[in-house]
Symmetry: C2
Subunit: 442 residues, 2 copies
């Protein structure tokens, strides 16, 4: 059979495969000599490999230089090992590979999708290895990137949701590293130097601080060789030190004037760290309270019953240290006070009593029934595997997910909401026109 | 085994399945009594169904009322069978289904992703059936949608690429229906009436004018039942009449003044209809000329050799009738004339001589090697299957794709470019500062 016909047949084949006997899911894990942790899931449905290298090098490591983690991450592919940005892009494109990168509070990452054909995979891996270990941070690209960050910060001033989120983290975290925004401030971005970028890269982009997730059509041996080839040139380095524990904030209301007809409301408190033993009851409880979009209790109360707001929601941001738990809504400005009262009362009531048996069962069915959508592509799986590796979650996290959701009881939701959340220590952020609350002081 | 464990096992199973003996790919096709054409691909990797209903109801059917097809399509989910927009959204969301819709020049479509669990699939299908057959086009939603279209048209005036594209279609197609933009004009959008929307829906959203593509984990019987359930309430109606053949345009240069440092350049001529027998040599030839992003001859000449432009490209838009073939670039305004000359000379030379043997081989390997990326999700497959059904392409189009690409010769590229393209009948669109060409008249 001609090779291209064989490729095609294999491809179609897997789309038509009858289900055979069951295997167990498996995340294989190993550590390289230089300290890098590797997590591998073998999939055989397509001749494609997705991989992500994650470093504990997010904005929480910015220190006084807000925006440094993001600038460093965005410059990696602008020049490395003697190749400029165009040549690096061409090296990926000519073998059909796709590269991207990003950074948030906890982590910074580089991601690659490549075909498994050996010549494509080798070329793409070698290019990524150069970007990882030998970035050059050219001055001209740094200035361009700085200008882009400043333009983005200007745009942010026109966006009430972004203004509110920044203010929420500041109010909730005070002196803790989570307080400052990954995108920095205009002053901090102007002050970032190439020297700081080089130092940040040397300190945090090391093997000891790295987690590599690989998902794709490779044997375990091939994945091991790939991991060594990709990360061999990284210096060993150290794992970043643990972040301090955040302190619960003083209760406060921050009102940021904005000329809009609606008020953007966020109410935040400290939530949970990744790996918290109460994760599942909190996850299911939040789904019922405000996590499930149009069918949550918050939407029912705020929109259906009172016509206060089209959009109301709640969510946890589980992080290396306690991330926020947030209740939010947008509401017609003259009804801001009423909306705050309804949101906060509903939360207090839910925390005291939990959901009804009907709502709990519906939520469990909704979550477990739609779980397939969460892992319906290699790209989504590589995201989960990275998260499991980065936060040190059990390797069977995905395997046990549905069972853990099914096991949640009404009593567990009540006790977890009472143990982990404390509405006395909440901050409220209001972005909207002035004079929306009769009494804005506390 | 408990049901949720079984679901999970099946899911993981398919990710780990070893390759078994080959099956042939298969698109099954049938026609319903009311005339609707159905195309079905059975996939068993995930408990998910993706489906798309396509109507010959795109902007080419707008007549004098530019924007009518888009307005009609966007209003479908705003109210149907007594349910309002929120209730319809909730009906999808409560069973984990995702709905979207859209329209372009040739077609308008509705798309649904649902879990295969019978209660979820039935509920999602019934909701979509209501949206298809019993939309209500509420006046208030029509006005809101009209305002959104007007805002989008204002934004368009700030976007040189969109300005250029609109001007290209106008210059290239003259009186032909393809001349007018799917988004309409400010005047035409202001004039659209609810009555016109209702008439458009009655005429074009019929079974005889519909193609349904289904991709997912269903048996052929289940897919057949789904197709009947979904489309049973559509009136039979007629298939839309064939569009007229477009005439080649008079050569012309249109310069639209815009205060930018760069000129946005498009050079357009009539290309091919879907199903053209020269499709594959044109596709491979264009990949080499300007279709492959950073590795094309256009980029090599314009960027690497002359430093004229970062971005240069060419593409076909195969359509029901001859769609455009477009060469494009962005260039520093003071080098616009030089860029035009280089682009046009390169095209004329390529049309006369075709690619080198090396470039041809590299392109064939690049296209066939990265073909898996084109069909790596059900969503992409449903797009291809819709296209095959809508344009009446051979059912084995995907199956033979790689073989057809491999079979393209240098001689076939030259003769297809000479047969199908005629640089004498081209239009040039320049969007950029005034005075960029020494002589703008022809």
């Amino acid at each position: 059979m001609r090779p291209f016909l064989r490729t095609l047949s294999i491809l179609w084949l897997v789309l038509w495969l009858p289900l055979a006997q069951a295997n167990s899911p498996e995340i294989r894990h190993w550590q390289l000599d230089n300290g890098a942790r590797v997590y591998f899931v073998q999939t055989e449905t397509l001749p494609i490999v997705d991989l992500r290298v994650t470093f504990d090098a997010g904005a929480a490591r910015d220190g006084e230089q807000a925006g440094l983690a993001r600038l460093t991450n965005s410059l990696l592919s602008q020049g490395a090992a003697g190749l400029n940005a165009d040549e690096l892009a061409l090296a990926f494109e000519s073998v059909g590979a796709r590269y991207s990168s990003g950074s948030e509070r906890d982590m910074a990452w580089l991601q690659l999708r490549s075909l498994t054909r050996p010549e494509a995979l080798t070329a793409a891996t070698d290019t990524l290895a150069m970007i990882l270990a030998a970035p050059e941070f050219p001055e001209a690209d740094l200035e361009r990137q700085r200008r882009q960050m400043l333009v983005a910060l200007q745009a942010e001033r026109q966006s009430p949701p972004t203004i509110a989120e920044r203010a929420l983290y500041e109010a909730l975290y005070g002196d803790h590293p989570y307080a400052s925004a990954p995108q920095g401030t205009e002053d901090s971005v102007r002050a970032l130097s190439r020297e700081a970028v080089v130092e940040f890269h040397e300190q945090y982009y090391t093997a000891g601080n790295a987690v590599l997730a690989i998902v794709g059509d490779l044997s375990a041996n091939e994945a091991r060789e790939l991991s060594e080839r990709l990360l061999a040139d990284l210096p060993a380095g150290d794992r970043a030190p643990q972040l301090p524990e955040p302190e619960p904030p003083e209760p406060q209301t921050v009102h940021i004037p904005y000329p809009s007809a609606q008020t953007h409301v966020l109410i935040g408190q400290l939530g949970i760290a990744r790996g918290d033993e109460d994760y599942f009851p909190l996850y299911v409880g939040n789904h019922i309270l405000g996590g499930s979009g149009l069918v949550s209790m918050l939407v029912h109360e705020m929109r259906e019953r009172r016509g206060l707001s089209y959009s109301s929601y709640s969510y946890f941001v589980p992080s290396a240290e306690r991330g926020p738990f947030i209740l939010g809504t947008q509401v017609r400005a003259d009804r801001t006070g009423e909306a705050l009262e309804v949101l906060e009362n509903l939360f207090v009531e839910f925390r005291a009593e939990g959901p009804s048996a009907d709502r709990l069962q519906a939520a469990q069915e909704n979550i477990t029934g739609s779980f397939p959508l969460n892992i319906d592509s290699n790209r989504k799986i590589v995201g989960y595997v990275s998260m499991i590796g980065f936060y040190g979650l059990p390797l069977d996290h995905l395997d046990t997910f549905i069972g853990q959701v099914e096991a949640v009881t009404q009593a567990a939701i009540v006790s977890s909401f009472q143990n982990r959340l404390d509405p006395e220590h909440r901050v409220r952020i209001l972005v909207g026109p002035e004079g929306i609350l009769a009494d804005e002081d506390e």
